[in-house]
């Protein structure tokens, strides 16, 4: 996993609550057996006017001019600004894979769905929870200011606006540690092999029908 420390990037506002992972990456693309190549199909049904299928070349597909990602001023955005309960629904990790493949490394929202939030950290994406009033204000500032960028600092746990306003965010220490250092969870867990084996031994006595 690619590590994450600091990032200053263009912000794109996606102004609707309860964006589900079916919308982030529609089911037909889940047939892929790879982890990469999902970026062109991110938000496929909102982004394009035709029906997308896996393997399609997206360069000449008709784009929906009303969809925010298609507006030129947001081209190259690295930070997605979202509303409540972002990433709800299906557990598909294809959703963070698609966001990452498109170029997003940070998502800011007042709240996230649990599984999606968790999946982001496993893929080098930083989901940041900020209070709803602040997110609301950011939405206004972003639309009012072309080229609006935020500076995100994970070690310091801050987001800084172009005006220099610094906002703090919370993050679980273990997740932060893994993301800042780009660590592989499985490798970390396998440092505890003996404890896992001891647990299994004990459990076999207590509940032998489980083994």
């Amino acid at each position: 996993m690619e590590k994450f420390e600091k990032l200053t990037g263009l912000v794109v506002p996606l102004d609707r609550p309860n964006v589900d992972t079916d919308a982030v990456i529609p089911k037909q693309f889940l047939k892929s057996i790879k982890r990469t190549g999902f970026g062109p199909y991110l938000f496929d049904e909102w982004r394009y006017l035709d029906h997308g299928e896996p393997g399609m070349d997206c360069t000449d597909r008709p784009r929906n001019p009303d969809f925010v990602l298609n507006q030129q001023r947001y081209e190259g955005a690295r930070i997605l600004l979202a509303r409540d309960n972002f990433g709800c629904g299906s557990s598909r990790e294809h959703a963070p894979w698609a966001l990452l493949d498109y170029g997003f490394r940070v998502i800011i929202a007042p709240s996230f769905a649990d599984i999606f939030y968790n999946n982001c950290f496993k893929n080098g994406i930083l989901p940041i929870v900020l209070p709803a009033e602040i997110v609301d204000r950011l939405f206004k500032e972003v639309s009012a200011t072309p080229g609006y960028e935020l500076a995100v600092d994970l070690p310091a746990q801050t987001v800084t606006t172009p005006a220099g306003e610094v906002m703090h965010f919370g993050v679980d220490p273990f997740r932060k540690h893994c993301l800042v250092n780009g660590l592989d969870d499985i490798g970390l867990t396998l440092q505890h092999v003996n404890e896992i084996k001891a647990y299994e031994q004990r459990r076999k006595q207590e509940a032998p029908w489980l083994f």
Binding site: D15, R16, P17, N18, D20, D22, A23, P26, K27, Q28, L30, K31, S32, I33, K34, R35, E45, H51, P54, G55, R83, D84, N85, C88, G89, S90, S91, R92, E93, P96, S111, A113, D114, I115, N118, N119, K122, N123, D172, P173, F174, D185, I186, L188, T189, L190, H192, E195, I196, Y199, E200, R203, E206, A207, P208, W209, L210, F211
Partner: protein, 468 residues
């Protein structure tokens, strides 16, 4: 000291270790695997040169991509075919038990787990699928995970987790006749919202839940994720134990008695503390129909589609407008005026034998309305299909004009060939009414099996209470 909740008990018995910040290694007893969320996990294992930690803990089945028409011709779509073949070859390579597409035990992963006794009380059960919450109906801690976690479980038999908060959702009293588990859970989601359970493990309790059948309890737990919580669960009682007895993977002989005695303790202590308690009066629940594109957008069948102008909150109002525009419904439309194009009875929410019986009772001796282009019944597993055929339910459906299909996820998410065409409106017993979920541009209304059956006959929604 206060007593423990069911969730506390399940959590505590599976902790391998915790660090100072409460990040724990949680041991996983059962890992269910399907074709969509596993290929990258197996690939990861191979690349790292790792092996599955405990092969017998895994059970695999293809369900999302499989055709529901005759299996003889295989899978036409080459991309779907490759994904199912990839599951077959991964299971063969690592020695994992798989119910392949032509196995009579094949079916939707959350249906076959309990059916086989692969899901047992007191277990931790995970699967790369958010509806893993279904298995909580057995007093298990069951939740969906992402593909990285699928790989983590395969490699270590553990997951890195933090404990959730405890929530009790109590459904008090008795529902009226015709009200099913599906109506109860839709009413719960309508009440607490799709993010109402975020951060919590929800225990469902109260008289209405205790009186549900095990299958009804699975329906309720299935949709816990639609209320924002990863895990939902229900205490073990005699019904739980009776359901599991003699299932192929359940303990047998002396071990059965020993296990059942332990399982009976799997309920919250009377003095257990919950971080949040929500209550719903069962008697007030009416048959539910979703009107929008989020499972919290539900109304009673005798109600009307809401008017966004009456919503005070700006974000919610805009979301309602967007939903109504997608659904092509004017505000204040009476629900019983909504005419349908298709009907889908199936999915891990409502494809078990009781669901099929409930739908067949409504359908018997009647005909599907002329405006219904397609009415599908997709049993949750091959064994359910066989059982239903033994009871003659297939004849009832076919004679009424339904199509009787092979088991799988089917039009719940339309990864196979079963789907809505743009603009089509469907009464569906599945769990998600998201935009495009059942096919791009398709419009989904979530209902119970009996309500879906009645809608197929009338061609529009009808109040099931008038038919029983």
């Amino acid at each position: 000291m206060a007593g423990k909740t069911l969730y506390d008990k399940l959590w505590d018995s599976h902790v391998v270790r915790c660090d100072d910040h409460g990040t724990c290694l949680l041991y996983i007893d059962r890992h269910l695997v399907h074709e969509v969320t596993s290929p990258q996990a197996f690939e990861g294992l191979r690349l790292a040169g790792r092996k599955p930690w405990r092969i017998a803990a895994n059970l695999a089945v293809p369900d999302h991509n499989v055709p529901t028409t005759s299996r003889g011709r295989g899978i036409e779509d080459p991309v779907s075919r490759l994904q199912v073949q990839t599951l077959d070859s991964n299971c063969a390579e690592f020695g994992i038990t798989e119910f392949k597409m032509d196995d009579p035990r094949q079916g939707i992963v959350h249906v076959i787990g309990p059916e086989q006794g692969a899901t047992l009380p007191g277990m931790t059960v995970v699967c790369g699928d958010s509806h893993t919450s279904t298995h909580g109906a057995f007093g298990a801690l069951a939740f969906g995970i992402g593909t990285s976690e699928v790989e983590h479980v395969l490699a270590t038999q553990c997951l890195i987790q933090k404990k959730s908060k405890n929530m009790l959702m109590s459904v008090d009293g008795r529902p009226s006749p015709g009200i099913t588990a599906k109506d109860i859970v839709l009413a719960i989601i309508g009440e607490i919202g799709t993010a109402g359970g975020t951060g919590y493990a929800i225990e469902f309790g109260g008289q209405a839940i205790a009186e549900l059948s095990i299958e009804g309890r699975m329906t309720v737990c299935n949709m816990t994720i639609e209320a924002g919580a990863r895990a939902g669960m229900i205490a073990v009682d005699d019904k739980t134990i009776a359901y599991l007895e003699k299932r192929p993977l359940a303990p047998q002989g002396a071990l059965w008695g020993q296990a059942a005695a332990v399982w009976r303790e799997l309920r919250s202590d009377p003095d257990a503390q919950f971080d949040r308690v929500a209550r719903l009066d069962a008697a007030a629940i009416k048959p539910q129909v979703s009107w929008g594109t989020s499972p919290e957008m539900v109304v009673a069948v005798d109600g009307t589609v809401p008017d966004p102008d009456e919503e005070q909150d700006d974000v919610k109002r805009e979301a309602m407008r967007a939903a109504l525009s997608y659904m092509d419904l004017p505000p204040r439309t009476p629900v019983t005026d909504i005419r349908l194009d298709k009907v889908f009875i199936g999915s891990c929410t409502n494809s078990r034998i009781e669901d099929l019986r409930a739908a067949a009772r409504i359908v018997e001796g009647r005909r599907v309305a002329d405006n219904i282009k397609q009415a599908l019944v997709v049993p949750g597993s091959g064994l359910i299909k066989r059982q239903a055929e033994g009871e003659g339910l297939d004849r009832v459906f076919i004679e009424a004009g339904f199509e009787w299909r092979e088991p799988g996820c089917s039009m719940c998410l339309a990864m196979n060939a079963d789907r809505l065409q743009p603009g089509e409106r469907c009464a569906s017993t599945s769990n998600r009414n998201f935009e495009g979920r059942q096919g791009q541009g398709g419009r989904t209304h979530l209902v119970s099996p009996a309500m879906a059956a009645a809608a197929a006959i009338a061609g529009r929604f009808v109040d099931i209470r008038e038919l029983i």
